[in-house]
């Protein structure tokens, strides 16, 4: 392996946390393979992208293109593939987030590369990369290799840690031409849930199940989430009942989360729900039924009525965190 290229994403004039995670993974792979880890950022600047040097990238490339006024996966794919070719990159890494998952497959086709999505481990071993990725919604893990000279991977958010490892970086500008065809799909509008933390980005997720009984009781879940600066999630029963939006659903047909702590409140632990939360580092389950399947899949469990437990738990935690 010679050069590993990382797609760096910015938001609010800073690198996204997921980009720092991928940078760390790239610099660790590069160290093992005696390769170079390079970052590419689009329409940004050295001050912003320079942060990646703290996470081990020794070269950072900025591509400025005035035609790219709004995000366009097709155009970004073109840029990354061109930079990969120009730099002789034989491994390209993305975060397996909304943008990365849409761009990476296109880059793989442009580079004639095999692509493995949503990896939870990447190991360099005798001139090859072994990727581990969850399959069957995390009920199994596949050890996978890419057979082509150029390899593309996306890394599941929150699984790889972002560890500082400062190096001195070269900064470079590259220009890539974009045709109208490259811009065939573009974002025209962004609707952010202001101030709301997404379950995919949070270090703590507190989810409610059918036991919450109605949207009017969801404040119990929200309050606990607030004390832990966490995000609010839900089981499918809750989403199907219309109490919470689908964007909060955790599980096989919802989101697959991997926070440090997952708290399941009044959730039975159906196999499809477990699939979405099993990657959590620690799991706390609260359920009044001591035989609920969720208790077989938790680190900590409290047997009892969540309507009694949640206010107490929230108060006790709040005393410590002050939130």
């Amino acid at each position: 392996m010679k050069n590993i290229l990382v797609f760096l994403e910015t938001s609010n004039n800073a690198l996204k946390r997921t980009s720092l995670e991928v940078s760390t993974a790239a610099s660790q792979l590069a160290a093992g393979a005696n390769a170079k880890a390079i970052g590419v950022v689009i329409n940004s600047n050295n001050d912003v992208a320079g942060a990646a040097a703290k996470y081990g990238l020794s070269e950072i490339i900025n591509v400025n293109n005035a035609k790219l006024t709004a995000h366009s996966s097709t155009a970004v794919a073109k840029i990354i593939a061109e930079v990969a070719k120009a730099e002789g990159a034989d491994c390209v890494l993305f975060a397996a987030n909304a943008a990365g998952l849409e761009i990476a497959p296109r880059v793989a086709v442009k580079l004639d590369a095999g692509y493995v999505a949503d990896c939870i481990a990447l190991n360099y071993d005798s001139n090859n990369i072994i990727a581990k990725k969850p399959i069957y919604a995390g009920k199994a893990v596949a050890k996978t290799t890419v057979e082509t000279p150029v390899k593309v991977f996306s890394l599941r958010p929150n699984v790889f840690s972002a560890a500082e490892n400062p190096v001195s970086a070269n900064f470079k500008e590259l220009s890539v031409e974009l045709s109208d065809k490259d811009l065939s799909a573009s974002v025209v509008n962004v609707m952010k849930n202001e101030g709301k933390l997404d379950v995919l980005e949070a270090d703590v997720v507190v989810s409610g199940g059918r036991a919450v009984k109605g949207p009017e009781n969801y404040y119990l879940i929200e309050n606990l989430a607030k004390t832990l600066s966490g995000a609010v999630g839900a089981s499918r029963a809750v989403v199907d009942a219309g109490w919470r939006p689908h964007s909060e659903q955790v599980g096989q047909t919802g989101k697959t989360v991997s926070p440090t702590l997952y708290i399941a409140c009044g959730i039975s632990g159906a196999i499809q729900h477990l699939a979405g939360m099993n990657g959590s580092k620690y799991i706390l389950a609260i359920n009044k039924d001591k035989d609920a399947p969720i208790f077989k899949n938790c680190d900590y469990g409290l047997i009892g009525d969540m309507f009694d437990i949640l206010p107490k738990l929230t108060e006790k935690i709040s005393k410590i965190t002050g939130k």
Partner: protein, 248 residues
Amino acid sequence: MNILVCVARVPDTATKIMVGSGGKAIEQNGVKYVVNPYDEFALEEALRLREKNGGTVTAVTIGTDANVDVLRTSLAMGVDKAMLIKGDEPTDSYYVVANIAKVAKEISPDLILLGKQSVDYDSLQLPAMLGEMLEMPSVSVVSALTIEGDEVKAERDIEGGKEQVACKLPAIISAQKGLNDPRYPKLPDIMKAKSKPIDTREAEKTTPKTSILAIEIPSKARAGKVMEATDENIDEVVRLLNQEAKVI
């Protein structure tokens, strides 16, 4: 409007997954297979667009003879044509996408609909890959879609919200839950679907770009400290969150 819908055949989501004897695939005995849940949204959207605009909906699946069942379900839901591209069981996305691309080039659809991911290998790549191979725009993880003339507006999930993407037909869309409520096929339609023709062709072999070396069942040992919710035990959980999980 001519629409191509790609339908994968996957284990029912309630399946308990076990590793098969070769160690590289799951044990298939006793597994119930279904239409990939996200592909139901894709099928439903195709049918609604045809009901509104006219045209033909073709369902295609890449796999073995066993895949006929997902085509029967698609026919029962109401697709006009069903195509089986028959070959090895797919384990490499490139093999699937190359074969879908071949069909797409033949029938030149205005729209190709897929699910956001197949819930077996969770490969998460076909829609955008297909877009690149066919030089068509694609929007992934779409939960709201409007098409007027050849103008497409698709709303897709992003972290902490949604974004609206615009493109022109012909285009590729991958479906997320929320796009619609898929219909249940009615019994008479299920019966009728049994005798409808299935256009079966040989799949083209490709050199794999990825290989599965082994599959494992993760055995994450959880501490399992489950206790009655007394005040003392709630304190204990708070202590564990603070000192063990270190999230407080």
